[in-house]
Symmetry: C2
Subunit: 254 residues, 2 copies
């Protein structure tokens, strides 16, 4: 038997940001595998496939079930939000493929990229990622916290714009505060910080606050946090709308 | 008069990766503004708009013309490849909006995000961006080269995966070699390096080489270069296909 498996990025949520390749794979699938809220973003009209729903933390189990189904000849889609390659399901599936060896030799695997949360939030507010930037997950479930601190210190000193994924959760309440403290040591209090929450979904909001005043309480696990560099600028346009961007030009040292 | 302006990301090129929002704005536009090769990615069937073609280096002039046309009541699209927010036209347009003040108060501006080159190349080869990473442009046209070196040293030490944009060109022949030298000082010769060329376009290729052997001559301005971290791994699957990924789990220090 030989089946196929696509790890599909839905993008942030809105149908207007879902690629034709994602739509086609969902429509053709026999089985969808995913975290419940992501499966819920796929309507019955988008896919009539059997749905295999998992808890958020069961990434490895999701990946194995998907590969097993595909190895048995099914047409499987692992549903991911955003870009599956950025802190999402593509890694878990490729890890399981690596571990599985010849067991999955029959599986034709495709990763279907999507628009990641930082790109979507950036688009809503201007162009904060228009210059060198990094994406760092604040989750220390699979990575020691000291590694996160070391990385934040390095990118703060190197003046990169920093997009923080998985900024906070019930089980990880203090990590964001510590991360902001590290960034504050290198950047001015008026540095723009973009908070993009549920971008591309109902009730979305994207706003600009400052590094000096941003509070943990304004951020939840559905928020991506973009901390500007020393050159990132915010302004209000002639229509009263607030924008933030990181200029293309970086000044020479004095 | 009040017009509108969208800075549209086409994604890497393939129609299967172009979002419905991008398609809709192109179809409705009265004017397209862009670098020639990007305008050429928009077929006559996609848009019957007047086309304003510019040279690659004329970003500021492109942005101003687009805003001027929109301020005069036109429905304008600035055409960008990839994600316009990542080393592309969104920044130039928002900069010009900032500089223009009330002159552009009539313009309704939207940034339409797209899939950026690093996401597309990553998808073709697995999940090299599955863990913390950064995107750095090697162009020193608008940024002093010492800033680039300082950033590369910082992210190399912090063990981030590094996606290099604008890696090399006729006018910038040596910068990539120097960047690789900096990364080689911190990472082993067998570190996987992904070279994604023209991903999503005719004649595309994505392959894995190593940091120890990658040569400047394998890279051109249409290539995105993803240099793995110390944990990034490459393997050949049961079908003989090569994959690369950065595991979700990062080891604790000894």
């Amino acid at each position: 038997m030989s089946g196929r498996l696509a790890v599909v990025g839905l993008g942030p949520g809105a149908a207007a940001w879902r690629t034709p390749e994602a739509v086609e794979r969902l429509a053709g699938a026999s089985d969808l595998v995913g975290y419940g809220p992501y499966l819920a973003m796929v309507g019955e009209e988008d896919s009539s496939a059997v749905r295999h729903e998992f808890d958020n933390r069961e990434e490895a189990r999701r990946a194995e079930l998907a590969l097993d189904l595909a190895a048995a000849g099914r047409d499987v889609v692992v549903v991911s939000s955003g870009d599956p390659g950025v802190f999402a399901m593509a890694t878990a599936v490729v890890e399981a493929l690596d571990a599985g060896g010849d067991r999955y030799a029959g599986v034709d695997l495709t990763i279907v990229p999507g628009i990641t949360a930082a790109s979507a939030a950036a688009a809503r507010i201007g162009a904060p990622l228009g210059h060198d930037f990094c994406c760092i997950s604040l989750s220390d479930v699979l990575k020691p916290w000291p590694v996160v601190e070391r990385r934040l210190e390095a990118v703060a000193c190197a003046d990169l714009v920093v997009a923080l994924y998985n900024p906070i959760s019930r089980h990880r309440p203090w990590q964001l505060g510590r991360a902001l403290e590290i960034l504050r040591a290198q950047r001015a209090p008026d540095t723009p910080v973009v908070l993009g929450r549920d971008v591309g979904r109902d009730g979305e909001s994207t706003r600009v606050v400052t590094l000096g005043t941003v509070a943990d309480a304004e951020v939840d696990m559905r928020t991506v946090v973009i901390v500007g560099s020393t050159t990132t600028r915010a302004f209000v346009d002639g229509r009263g709308r607030t924008w933030a961007y990181t200029p293309r030009t970086y000044p020479a040292a004095d």
